[in-house]
Symmetry: C2
């Protein structure tokens, strides 16, 4: 089974700019991708294709640090997300998992859970209506739409095209890292490359004195 | 199997005060509790005990609208959360599920998933380090601590007391409703009492024009 991972390095994660320099954001983005690849390499997925606006140079950097049984390829493509993905899906005969590069808490178990459903379309939501993983048993019959409330868009598309669908319920898949607050989840639950990097550059958690029940991210 | 649900009605959900009047917040809190009870009533849980600072009057309001096979009791107790829960756990011989009242997306499947683990302690995290559901096979050997980063506190307690533990991975259980932004999840994924109430009082979603990929909550 194959996974497709859209990845953007240049100018990545701009909403983290109050905390991190541009090169730190790019490094963090790359490490989050490595965490996703590490989870995929321990799951039922056999092959991962990274679709990136940057060149194949990143391939070498990525190859270290996780199970080599995952076959890894990088495709350079500067088109928009929907356009490039729908181009790939159109010719795809086998089931495909589209998984985001910014969900570093993804686990082999959560990935196996997603591809284990029998429905034609499996949607693992992100927060605020995103689609963080999308498993398509019949990819050529589907078209993605990652703008708007994509989770609802994908449900509608499945219905319209007479494909069965299910929502996959995973906290770890839902936790995409876009804003400073999102780092909380990574610092609490993460054990991989990106959490190690956050620790190294002095990002940590403290309990919010006002609520006493929530953690806040800080950087020394 | 028994569930315990701490519930606070008076002054509930104060961080929603920019959007809702006090009575609306209390109504929403009650409806979220009803959604949790509805999910429990379709799960393997047979009995639910609500521990509340308010009187037993709420019982009557709650009894309508969900499967009557769930045995429901209300206990009035004005002590703090940890104190009252640890008092209950101390004498408890049977497995207990402690589940929060503000997770209206909880599903029967997610609840059955939690109580289906074999470990002594099952922790279903909330966002930012909370513990939204906690299943204890040997409750008298455990003590809860809902302040600080409770999810990590509960992992530590399990280790210290030589109890096996596991993290249960559920997006629907993780989605506690504390802030306006949290309503996004309820409006996208909810089908129960609280979502119906939000629609009725004019709370809806629009796509954020800046990000184009995220939804924002608004009220007419």
């Amino acid at each position: 089974m194959k996974a497709i991972i859209p990845f953007k390095r240049e100018g990545a994660k701009s909403r983290l700019r109050d905390f991190f320099s541009e090169s730190e954001r790019e490094e963090l983005a790359l490490r989050m991708l490595k965490d996703v690849l590490a989870a995929l390499s321990k799951s039922e997925i056999e092959e991962a294709e990274i679709i990136s606006t940057c060149s194949e140079e990143i391939l070498e950097e990525l190859k270290s640090g996780f199970n080599q049984k995952l076959k890894l390829t990088v495709r350079e493509d500067s088109r928009g997300l929907n356009e490039v993905l729908n181009g790939v899906l159109r010719d795809e005969k086998e089931p495909v998992l589209i998984i985001m590069a910014d969900i570093p808490l993804a686990t082999p178990e959560s990935i196996n859970g997603i591809v284990g459903h029998e429905e034609d379309v499996v949607i693992a939501p992100g927060r605020k209506g995103g689609t963080n993983a999308l498993f398509l048993r019949r990819p050529s019959e589907f078209a993605v739409s990652y703008y708007g409330i994509s989770c609802l868009e994908h449900i509608e598309t499945a219905k319209r095209r007479n494909l069965t669908h299910v929502i996959h319920d995973s906290f770890f898949i839902s936790a995409d890292i876009d804003e400073i607050d999102d780092l909380t989840e990574l610092l609490i639950h993460g054990k991989g490359f990106s959490t190690e990097y956050l620790h190294r550059i002095g990002v940590s958690l403290r309990v919010d004195k006002k609520s006493m029940t929530q953690a806040k991210v800080e950087r020394f």
